[in-house]
């Protein structure tokens, strides 16, 4: 693992690259288009935030990276490379070696993510044994060290999942994920099921581990606060497509896409109490009957005839900031949300 980090090759800059990912679930009556063409480029040591309402296809995207999309999902992708390895062409054997060592994942609901009949220590040791096999005792010791790392006293390694609280369980899940020091970590709404105070501790711990190990990470969440706190770059997803992508400053301060604006308007503004919340009208579109043109058009206040007809292309508004919205064909189109702090604010 050591030699990969400091090699200067530009490709090494990219920890994970995904091109044109499409996932659909073929059922008897209908076909659900969960993901409709997503590109992700994650640089080493960086954290990408993947935000969007439930049903936008976030988890499906994450699972596709590990090629764990359950039946009857169909995954099509032009390119998927993690740490320089082409995941698409991997055989089952190679995939098993790949999962957990190069790419690891943390799941949303800690209550059901741990195997109830094995001790916590065993489950961590099991992962270690899978990737760098050693003696049982040695693996168990490493597991205890991992528990300490995530803030759980090593002595509890012999206890069972039902003896841990929600927060502690999530720490165990994190320990399992990091046991083999993965290059990239995907966190699928790791703290959604936890209450706020525990949420802050878990996030702080994740940030510390990420910085110590120089790990790159994809943080999936619908909570913009977490993204602001943890991520370097942001991708806003809607109905299986990335509608806006850019650095934290790009998206937060120079919001371009009406849907992103809507998300911000749904957040209460502590400083200005009287401001009325402006929730986005309507519901997420039915993934099996996506409307023509822009999926957000039916709920977009700026929607024009063109929006409903043409599928918006991705447009670079700065070297790091992309938006996919037909309205911007008209150069002086602006959304209501004011830009803050000028170009580099």
């Amino acid at each position: 693992m050591e030699e990969k980090r400091n090699s200067g090759m530009p490709e090494e800059e990219i920890a994970l690259e995904l091109k044109n990912l499409r996932v659909k679930f073929v059922l008897e009556q209908e076909t659900v288009h969960a993901v409709n063409g997503i590109d992700i480029k994650l640089r080493k040591g960086h954290t990408l935030g993947l935000a969007g309402e439930t049903g936008a296809g976030k988890t499906t995207t994450a699972l596709s990276l590990l090629r764990l999309v359950p039946h009857p999902g169909k995954v099509e992708c032009d390119k998927l490379e993690v740490a320089g390895k082409d995941v698409l062409s991997m055989s089952q054997k190679e995939l098993q070696k790949f999962r957990g060592s190069d790419l690891a994942m943390i799941f949303q609901d800690p209550m059901t993510s741990l195997n109830p009949v094995f001790t916590v220590g065993q489950q961590i040791a099991d992962t270690i044994m899978l990737h760098n096999p050693t003696t049982k005792e040695d693996a168990f010791k490493q597991a205890e060290k991992m528990l300490e790392l995530v803030g759980i006293p090593a002595v509890r390694a012999v206890e069972y999942p039902h003896q841990f609280s929600g927060g502690m369980k999530q720490r165990v899940v994190i320990a399992i994920a990091l046991a083999c020091n993965p290059g990239v970590l995907i966190a699928d709404e790791p703290t959604t099921a936890l209450d706020v105070t525990i949420q802050a501790q878990v996030l702080a711990m994740m940030k510390k581990l990420r910085d110590e190990r120089g790990m790159s990470m994809i943080m999936i969440t619908h909570d913009l606060g977490i993204i602001a706190d943890v991520c370097d770059e942001v991708a806003i997803m809607y109905a299986g497509r990335i509608v806006e992508y850019g650095t934290l400053r790009d998206v937060f301060n120079h919001t371009k896409h009406p849907y992103t604006e809507g998300l911000f308007n749904s957040l209460p503004n502590i400083r200005n109490r009287e401001e009325r919340l402006k929730p986005i009208p309507g519901l997420m579109p039915d993934p099996s009957k996506l409307p023509k043109g822009c999926a957000f058009a039916p709920r977009c206040q700026y929607a024009t005839e063109a929006c409903r007809e043409k599928r918006p292309e991705e447009r670079m508004v700065s070297d790091t900031h992309m938006v996919a919205c037909t309205a911007y064909d008209d150069p002086d189109f602006r959304i209501h949300r004011p830009e803050k702090g000028g170009k580099n604010g």
Partner: protein, 302 residues
């Protein structure tokens, strides 16, 4: 609870309401129809029921079913006698068809008796933990200690040998199984939050059990029903060995199996055809049972 009617985006509302209007029953039937196995099972069962009802029309009981003719004894399956003739010269093909009503009746009715008693007791035991559970479960252990043959002897001798008493005897011996299965299922359902929620709404315990707890335990119960039907039909053959089965000369499959027992080596077709009839009936009930179980269980739905 429903949102103000939105002019824009109305078609999404229409779209999402698609699932609301279909009633629960139509969804179940819809899923059932999808399951090919269940349809095959249903088809076989309807044929069997039809044959059972119209057997009197097809065959004249006295001459073709019960009438015996020693000269026609033990003829191997041939054109006139598709399944051959038995040791008393009676045509097996007609007896198997005619016997459908007995075996189907005994198998199904006995299981229903067992289920009715067993499910009620099991539900009570599972729902009211503590004393009620202990009493019912211990009584259940006591009842299950009685060998089914002893139960048969007592019921048939006390109430006389008739098809109904046979059903009663087999039904009662299958009660312990149903009690245990239902209790286990109710136990796991009882702890769900929605049962507490229902209690909070002040619904009476009986209604909670009848309309909310038991429907959720249908899956193991249906499986048990289909299994019990099989063992009920087979049980009639061991009971008829002791003369406790359907009164002679009724052509019940179980008793035909038993009569053909000493001919296993010389005239095996005496037992093969009733055996196949039982196999088909049991399979049909199980394919239907599986289909029903999967259709009813929301968890398993796609």
């Amino acid at each position: 609870m429903s949102r103000k009617k939105e002019t824009r985006g109305s078609e999404e509302l229409l779209v999402s309401r698609k699932y609301v209007r279909q009633s629960q029953l139509r969804i179940i039937l819809h899923n059932l129809r999808k399951n090919k196995g269940a349809m095959i099972g249903l088809a076989i069962i309807t044929i069997l029921v039809l044959v059972s009802c119209f057997a009197d029309v097809l065959f004249d009981y006295d001459t073709e079913i019960a009438g015996l003719d020693i000269s026609q004894k033990l003829i191997r399956p041939c054109k006139e006698h598709l399944f051959g003739t038995d040791d008393l010269g009676r045509d097996i093909f007609k007896r198997v068809l005619y016997g459908a009503r007995y075996s189907l009746g005994v198998g199904f009715a006995a299981t229903m008796i067992g289920m009715a008693i067993g499910v009620v007791l099991g539900a009570i035991a599972g729902y009211y933990c503590g004393i009620a559970e202990d009493i019912i479960m211990r009584l259940n252990d006591v009842l299950s200690a009685v060998p089914s043959i002893l139960m048969g002897i007592v019921i048939v001798s006390a109430l006389g040998a008739s098809t109904f008493n046979l059903m009663l005897a087999i039904g009662i011996t299958s009660v312990p199984q149903f009690v245990r299965i239902t209790r286990a299922a109710v136990l796991s359902v009882r702890n769900q939050e929605y049962v507490e929620a229902l209690k909070a709404t002040g619904m009476s315990e009986a209604r909670i059990i009848a309309f909310h707890v038991i429907p959720n335990c249908l899956s193991p119960i249906i499986v048990q029903i289909t299994l019990r039907i099989a063992s009920a039909i087979i049980a009639t053959s061991s009971l008829s060995f002791l003369g406790l089965g359907v009164p002679v000369p009724a052509p019940e499959w179980g008793s035909m199996l038993n009569l053909g027992r000493s001919y296993v080596r010389t005239a095996s077709y005496l037992t093969i055809f009733p055996g196949i009839a039982i196999l088909i009936t049991v399979l049909a009930f199980n394919l239907l049972g599986d289909g029903l179980r999967d259709a009813l269980d929301p968890k398993l739905r796609k």
